[in-house]
Symmetry: C2
DNA sequence: CTTTGTATTTAGAATAATTCCAACTATTGA
DNA sequence: TCAATAGTTGGAATTATTCTAAATACAAAG
């Protein structure tokens, strides 16, 4: 046994190791950025935030780290529109609400009656994860729907 | 009343008109392409298919038409990965199965016990549409999961 | 059936998002 | 310490989408 991981990063290190990946300073940073502000940032936003304390990190590394984190099940990709993919470190069962007006994304927790696993799949399909997203108007935009695609991306 | 629409395109024309949009040859074509082969094509694929019978159609028009169709509720966007958005003319309640291995997308019909509308939303959120997507292995790829992101987009 | 105003299409340029590449660095195991 | 491999980096390349200005098509009004 090794026994030399920093306690705080143990889960990260273990998860990565389980996939044959190393825990690096950059991966810790990227994961940290996601945990710190859970507003479903894009790769670009993660990049900007990570740069504050790690000025030399590159975009290629951001994508590499995000892929590693997604690959080992610590982070999920969130694709809601034609814009950039967003990243979410909340791996608990929840869904995303996407405001068609302002483009904001909110986490919505599941409640009792909803059971995604009750969806019937034809023989042979092996589900790994269910994603539920809800499109509509968020409380702030409630009264003002809209035509085109003009929410800031 | 007008009464001069081609019967086959009546629903298209009406839907568009309801949003102040015209029914054009290109929009009919794009919608036709989507109805003809329901394999969730990307804008690029729609473009290539439409070009067969309409060689001068441009990519900008494809996007314009797709947006018009989405805007009037005849087509929905499907975002499942970092790749291009796909388009689906099936407006009935159904979900999408995305194969993490080969990248294929399948329509999955809802069955009785699943009711997206049972998802509880906090006050103020006005849902317009629920999207459910399932990620996993399709019957053809069932035995062979995979590491990286190498499914042809 | 001409005019006029507006919607739509078009090609191509511009931008945004993501991936690829080759060189450099760090880490691990022998 | 050395070799092998994984990871990082900057920048180029590619892909996806949006924007723009000019040309075209249409619909309503005269």
């Amino acid at each position: 046994m090794k026994g030399s991981e920093k306690p705080t990063d143990a889960p990260l290190t273990e998860r990565l190791a389980a996939k044959g990946l190393r825990s690096t300073t950059q991966r810790e940073k990227v994961y940290g950025v996601l945990l710190e502000k859970r507003d479903h940032p894009t790769a670009e936003q993660v990049f900007l935030r990570a740069k504050h304390s790690m000025p030399d990190i590159s975009m290629a590394t951001i994508y590499n780290c995000l892929d590693a984190l997604v690959g080992c099940g610590l982070v999920r990709e969130v694709n809601l529109d034609r814009g950039a993919t967003r990243y979410c470190p909340n791996m608990g069962e929840h869904s995303h609400f996407y405001c068609d007006t302002c483009g904001a994304v909110y986490d919505i927790d599941y409640v009792a009656r909803f059971r995604a696993s009750e969806l019937h799949l034809p023989k042979g399909f092996q589900p790994v994860r269910y994603d539920v997203s809800i499109h509509g108007q968020c409380p702030e935009c409630g009264g003002t729907p809209r035509q085109g695609r003009s929410n800031g991306h």
